[in-house]
Amino acid sequence: MATKRTMTFNLTDPEMTALEELASKKDLSKTAVLRQALRLYQMVDLRLERGEKLVFEDKGEKKAELVVL
């Protein structure tokens, strides 16, 4: 396992609420949710850099391209 470093993280009430809801829904600790978010963000960013597209598809197969900043 890689060495871990600590940082302080300040969130607004709505951000903290969202984090707590996600943690509960995904059966994860808040730290694990943030770690997952970072992994996803990095993965999406790298794939977009390679020229790939991020697309969401609903059940009716309607597709919407998502722009990630």
Partner: protein, 209 residues
């Protein structure tokens, strides 16, 4: 990078040997593994061709090339594990932690086994009447994935797409995974998952069969 010890079984004398499990594998390690394994793959392929064996029965990972899988390891979500014994790489596994979520348990996170392979000299190739040198490499690596899932806070959940020749291994008593059908988005390969409950059973008996 860290390392620990694991047991694998040597077929020649049916004895367990203590091997080394290493994590933190880097792209350059994959290139080295391919240099180590490539000639054995080539030899097996040569023999299959020489005997005119039907391609449909060839080992389904025969065409894999680990040197091409290096870029995957640059992602935060990716991890690589290898088992070494007497200076040789006996098996390797690459996992991902963010690209896939559980289908059995409502989108909860899991460890996805992207690739898992035993060294070519460990393969049983029935058509060549060839038995592998070491047994249990796949089981140990699978157990490592369940353990990784537990350590990540994913409750041991694991998912993977299986090569058809490996289905009996993943569905059988060694892994006890649940088949969730064929995946049209992944070359129509069967998708398997280990639920939280099955994972806890797997962990409590130490991956023993």
């Amino acid at each position: 990078m860290s390392q620990s010890t694991v047991n694998i079984l040597r077929r020649a004398d049916d004895q367990e040997v203590v091997a080394t499990l290493r994590d933190g594998i880097k792209p350059e390690d994959l290139a080295a593994i391919e240099r180590e394994w490539g000639p054995y793959r080539a030899k097996i392929k040569q023999e299959l061709v020489r005997l005119g064996i039907d391609k449909r029965t060839w080992p389904q990972s025969l065409h894999w090339d680990w040197s091409k899988k290096g870029p995957e390891l640059k992602l935060l979500e990716s991890s690589g594990f290898i088992i070494e014994f007497e200076g040789a790489t006996q098996g390797i596994m690459l996992t991902k932690t963010a690209s896939y979520v559980s289908r059995l348990e409502g989108g909860k996170p899991l460890v996805y086994i992207d690739y898992l392979e035993s060294a070519p000299w460990n393969w049983n190739v029935q058509e060549l009447q060839r038995k592998g040198e070491f047994r249990g490499v796949g089981s140990v690596l699978f157990y490592v994935a369940v353990l990784q899932s537990e350590q990540e806070g994913f409750r041991g959940r694991v998912g993977l797409h299986a090569l058809p020749q490996a289905e009996s291994f993943y569905a059988g008593k060694e892994c006890r995974m649940t088949k969730l059908g064929l995946d049209a988005n992944k070359q129509n390969l069967p998708y398997y998952e280990l639920s939280r409950k099955e994972a806890q059973e797997h962990l409590s008996d130490g991956g023993e069969k």
